[in-house]
Symmetry: C2
Subunit: 477 residues, 2 copies
């Protein structure tokens, strides 16, 4: 069933769900799907379907869809592909509107019998009026609605949406963007895109008012025109970030055996994405950095300038910040006369030495902190964008380091919460086998994240993201 926007709006937030292939075995997707509905607090009816079991995870189980007493709007299938056609027919008879097929081993196997079965799945579903997500997908993650596909997925809700042909990278993006503070209105692993495609999803997401940024991992599209129209429409209303898988010959070959996707030429893609107003990224790190930027940075009223003020960290970090920003096409102007005058007042020994970026290591005992200069920059119209380096590796070598670190980030968080200019905070990485260090850095990051601020693990990644952020608003001014 080709979808229109209205359909998906209702379809993706069903009031009753059957899990066909539900299982008591905790090491199975049939267990995870049911467990998620319980754990994430799905408010509608949940019907596990299993041929023999009468109860699964405390819920009454049914031998088939037709035995379920109430309506079933949505079916999650995790049975093997051999039995899928019967279940689709049954679902059609039951009036099911949407099926999500974890079930795989179709065209992605590269075998003709798999491709033929997939074509038959689509024929039966269309005939029966059932829309399909997948096959070969993990499906919906909508924590507000109580839907998820793995019990360990984050509960954070928010303004991001992510659609992906890969289940694993949906998981990875959700987990690693959650620790950066990105909350989701919807994530969706849609696999082979047999019926509901990226084009339908982009059309839909561009119209959901809560969605502030859309990310998509796409290996191939079934209908290029539909895709470009949908992408242009989505990007017109919402920052839309595309991570294209299968940009190269080897990548495209790999994509065929993953989602049976026809990847298309890299150059054609690049041009088309640009023309549609989308932002192309080339790794999950870049994707996550832009989800962070577009969900969490302060929104400008219109176009935004490119002048960066940066504070924090030592002299090496100051130089790196200046280089990284300049190489991204941003400007790092000198401190203004107004700020110099304030510094002369407050830090008479240092006022002429301090520059932009501010080298935190020269400030000790000088009468002014990095945070204080950050506030001066926020108040000064000469600066459009700010970078605040926490400089945790220096702090963690001092006595009472955890307290000091919290003092710094609390001050930064207060400033950040009140700022109307975009501020990129730099902290990380937090990965350390030393528990005290891990606790200190994660504690600091959690504090910034809980304040709704955008945190980047390196100053280079902050500069890279700020550049894309500014470009987006420039193009729309």
């Amino acid at each position: 069933m080709t979808q229109n926007t209205l359909d998906l709006d209702a379809l993706l937030r069903p009031k009753s769900i059957a899990v066909v292939g539900a299982s008591k075995n905790p090491d199975s997707p049939g267990h995870d799907y049911v467990q998620c509905l319980l754990d994430f607090g799905f408010k509608g009816e949940v019907y596990p379907v299993h041929r023999r079991e009468t109860e699964i995870l405390g819920l009454k189980a049914y031998p088939d869809l037709s035995s379920i007493p109430g309506d079933v709007e949505f079916v999650i299938s995790c049975i093997p592909s051999e039995a899928i056609l019967d279940v689709i027919d049954e679902a059609a008879k039951k009036g099911v509107r949407l099926m999500q097929l974890f079930t795989g081993r179709f065209s992605e196997t590269g075998r003709e019998e798999g491709a033929e079965l997939e074509r038959e799945v689509l024929r039966r579903a269309r005939k029966g009026g059932v829309s399909l997500i997948g096959p070969n997908c993990m499906g919906l993650h909508d924590p507000e609605w109580g839907l998820a596909f793995r019990p360990d997925l984050p509960r954070r809700t928010g303004g991001a949406a992510f659609i992906s042909q890969s289940g694993n990278n949906t998981t990875e993006v959700l987990i690693h963007s959650d620790v950066r503070g990105v909350g989701y209105r919807l994530a969706l692993s849609y696999g082979n895109a047999l019926d509901v495609t990226e084009a339908h999803l982009l059309e839909y997401l561009g119209e959901v008012s809560e969605v502030k940024v859309i990310g998509a991992y796409i290996e191939g599209v079934r209908d290029g025109r539909h895709f470009l129209r949908a992408l242009s429409d989505a990007a017109a209303s919402t920052p839309t970030i595309i991570f294209k898988g299968g940009r190269t010959g080897a990548g495209a070959r790999s994509a065929v055996s993953h989602t049976a996707a026809l990847a298309g030429s890299s150059n054609v893609w690049r041009g088309a994405l640009r023309q549609a107003g989308a932002i192309e990224v080339r790794s999950q790190d870049e994707l996550i950095d832009l989800l962070v930027a577009f969900e969490l940075l302060a929104k400008p009223d219109g176009a935004i300038g490119r002048n960066v003020g940066a504070v924090g960290g030592g002299g090496g970090r100051a130089v790196q910040a200046a280089d990284a920003c300049t190489e991204e096409g941003l400007s790092v102007p000198s401190l203004t006369d107004g700020i110099r005058a304030q510094l002369k007042e407050r830090a008479p020994q240092l006022w002429d030495w301090i520059g932009n970026p501010v080298d935190q290591s020269i400030l000790a005992g000088g009468g002014v902190s990095g945070a204080a200069v950050l506030e001066m920059m926020l108040a000064d119209p000469a600066f459009d964008l700010l970078i605040a380096n926490v400089g945790e590796d220096w702090v963690l070598g001092r006595p009472d380091s955890a307290d000091r670190l919290m003092h710094i980030v609390k001050r930064f968080a207060e400033i950040g919460k009140q700022s109307r200019k975009p501020i990129a905070f730099v902290l990380g990485p937090a990965d350390s086998p030393d528990e005290a260090r891990w606790r200190a850095v994660e504690g600091a990051r959690t504090l910034l994240v809980d304040a709704g601020l955008a945190v980047f693990p390196t100053v280079e990644r902050a500069a890279w993201a700020l550049r894309r952020y500014v470009e987006y608003w420039e193009a729309r001014a």
Copy 2:
């Protein structure tokens, strides 16, 4: 004193050290330097020098250098710059051969009196036969010799060397490369490079047989010809990675106020580095990735091919691995007939579907693991380089996830330890506020790192590093 190689060899491993400006205050460098000599197990004599204290950290303290009964080869100065000239004269009289000046506020302040004092420091030192490291530096880190500048620096010894004009980034590189398994023969923050310069240090490090890879963060050089000669010599014997700070106008301006460095044009630098056979990087992450690659990847006998075999992770990761490698100019060939024949034997349901990269998610119950295919690739001359994705985010959603993860990495570690081909393992990032997840991922990484293996946080960074690694050996074949 201009150094030659022989001099530095003896100078940098002194048998007796005085810390002028030693302090009982745990929040001071004068405390840290003494504490480090104790904590890191320096075996020679340690003399704290303080005007009034008679004992510091359990060691007898002396009012000045001349009161010390024995020889003093090396002086660490952390007194304010006002008193530095007298200490240099005293050191000269005492026969001190090398001084390390944490003491700052010289030419980097941009003030004429600072620059003049710095010139006078150099005149007095040369007159007195004392060589200088710094000023405005953190100095030596040589854990084998018992030298360090901060008590929390890693103890790991190894074949890496890092020299840097920035004290903070020396700390950052040491801490964040240590968790990746990089051990150091020497790290040195050398600040303003007034006397001992990057050129002397490169000359020296190129001749230290234990040094397998050299990294350098350089903001500016005092003698371009000397630098290029030293760099060419070092790079001829040892992979040499240069992170140039002050590549841009704003960066160069920032470098002046950090280490008084004259940064020089970016294009001139780029050409010169290439001609000298050095590898340029543009961030600490890139620097650390190459320290990992050149210290930990298996060394080829001569030139090395560009054919990559990759396993692990789901289908999205497989596509990303293929794209990243191809875009780095590496090849991702199809599986060979020999491997196909083995797969047909062991995994009759899957042999035609499995590709390179191997999508781990289709293997379950199929008779063959990702590790098994990795072994086939190692034995097959069609593959020169390997990438092994741990895929921890998938594993951590399963029951008994920590045990499963350890099972996978143990198997990978066994293979990696025996491999004569370079294998890049991909695991990470480990930064999570969830303690169980952090413990599991850090435990897995520690196991790989302890096996001496090269671990990268993303497949893109692994591919980027493998490309530079191959290029290095190609240029020398």
